[in-house]
Amino acid sequence: MRHALPLLLKIALLVSGTASAQDNADSALVKRGEYLVTVGGCHDCHTPWTMGSSGPEPDMTRALSGHPQDIAIKVAPTVPAPWGGAVSQTNTAWSGPWGVSFTANLTPDPETGVLRDFTEQQFIQTMRTGRHQGQGRQILPPMPWPNYGRMTDEDLKAVFVYLRQVPPVKNKVPDPIPPTQ
């Protein structure tokens, strides 16, 4: 028993040390993801913009929740040549030759978050191929996936880990509107 106690203590310290090291690694990954999401400009399109005292600014109470479901857009705007497209005041609805696309809800809301069925690998493949879950429908412009597809696996993992732990926002983004023929 005299020998057992120090041994148990060592095991407890070892386990606690391992858990702590894991926590630190996870925390570092989240911080890295937050950094990449910030400098990568994800909020520019995936966080709705609102008019602040100094002009338009992202509404961080709805961070990364995509195009607000209560702003209904049914038809694409008509813009005169040489203009090629238009963007909503929230910066979350984009019109161009591809029709109208609405930025996705990237928060981990279990009902409306676009990533709710994604595995980490599918997220990485989505950025690599520009296709939903890496193999499905095309992601519409202006999502700059060809740029993000050049990120390393480690960086994309960090982004995914970060997005999985931001506050969930329930917001059902509308379906895209196809281009008129």
Binding site: T119, Q122, Q125, R131, R137
Partner: protein, 371 residues
């Protein structure tokens, strides 16, 4: 290496031998470097022209190298009506390992070609080669309008390669799109497998080309010593899809060839729980279990609200699967890539199959609730 040995012997003993050894080392080194250079070219860079891949014995007359084997899978992929020809080439003395009937292992140096023609005009030829590091090299070659040249297409593919109906055009896929399908399962080779080459071919299979000479199937490959390890039972009782009717057999086969390379139990989309690939061990079962009366998990943009089941027995119009196969709206269509035109024959086949399928919706719901 033979050259090196002869040179060393010719110089004889003493000083000559040392020079000979040095010369031999130099030649050997140069040979190795040359080998490395050749290997690295194969590893990283597709060849700039189709001619250089070795498909043809005589490119001027487009005579295929007779050592390549032409084949035709029984359940081909729909590519907007393209007529396809396919060939495989194995390095001499090598074999395909079929010990795992659902994941054949192809030897290094294996090459595949698939030629796409529309209205008698060659448009593209796709190419796969297993590299020395075990990875597959992907390439696509676009034919010139006069059919005399075929050049490598860039990694982003080529739009407008051939004008189809309804203002649509054929796109030669980029590398990313090639891999979107080919990396969807354990084996990157599609269409050359136990079921696709079974001698018990489905007479109703859609768009199936007749088997070209010399009639490649499992029996042929085994007899020629090109396929080893195939379970004996698959030769004695050739694989066929277990189904209630010929229509069901063909429908399941169609989905195997057109959907199963992404929707299967092994690939990266397994979490969707839609298993349309036919596995040798339980052929016909998982495709039925994950479609008939199975709830749609996440409706795609454009899907109607009443399509709550992937397949609603006797109700094809409100079956999610049917709506997606019948659409070419990019956010809804299935398959999501590689096709611009709805496969009308497939829609008709699936419509008929679902219409004839037994259980009405109410019974399915009761079954799901365990009553």
């Amino acid at each position: 290496m033979a050259k090196v040995v002869v040179t060393a012997e010719w110089f004889g003993a003493g000083q000559g031998r040392r020079w000979a050894a040095a010369g031999a080392m130099l030649i050997l080194s140069l040979s190795l470097l040359k080998g490395v250079a050749a290997a690295s070219r194969t590893v990283t860079t597709p060849l700039p022209t189709l001619q250089e891949t070795g498909l043809y014995d005589d490119f001027g007359s487009l005579q295929i190298d007779p050592s390549h084997l032409a084949f035709a899978p029984q359940y081909p992929l729909w590519s907007d009506g393209a007529v396809k020809r396919r060939w495989i080439s194995l390095p001499p003395g090598t074999t395909i390992d079929a010990a795992d009937p659902d994941a054949w292992v192809f030897p290094v140096g294996t090459r595949f070609w698939k030629e796409f023609s529309f209205s008698g005009r060659r448009v593209e030829t796709r190419y796969l080669e297993r590299r020395s590091d075990g990875q597959w090299l992907y390439a696509a070659y676009a034919w010139s309008a006069d059919g005399r040249e075929a050049h490598l297409v860039g990694p982003r593919g080529k739009r407008g390669a051939y004008q189809l109906a309804n203002g649509r055009s054929h796109t030669i896929p980029g590398i990313g799109d090639c891999k979107a399908c080919h990396l969807g399962d354990r084996v990157e080779v599609l269409g050359f497998s136990a079921l696709q080459l079974s001698p018990d071919r489905d007479p109703g299979a859609l768009h199936a080309e007749p088997r070209p000479e010399p009639g490649i199937d499992l029996r042929y490959l085994v007899d020629k010593g090109l396929l080893v390890g195939l379970p004996q039972a698959m030769l004695e009782t050739p694989l066929r899809i277990v189904a209630k009717s010929p229509t069901e057999r063909t429908a399941l086969g169609y989905m195997h060839g057109n959907c199963g390379h992404c929707h299967n139990e092994q690939g990266s989309l397994q979490n969707i729980g839609l298993f349309l690939r036919q596995n040798a061990g339980a052929i016909g079962q998982s495709a039925l279990a994950t479609t008939i009366g199975y709830p749609v998990r996440k409706p795609a943009p454009g899907q109607s609200p009443d399509a709550v089941l992937r397949i609603d027995p006797r109700h094809p119009k409100r079956s999610g699967l049917m709506q997606r196969v019948s659409s070419r709206y990019p956010a809804l269509q299935m398959p999501p890539l590689g096709t611009e035109l709805v496969d009308i024959e497939a829609v008709s086949l699936l419509y008929r199959w679902i219409s004839e399928h037994g259980e009405p919706r109410e019974e399915v719901h009761l079954k799901q609730k365990g009553r």
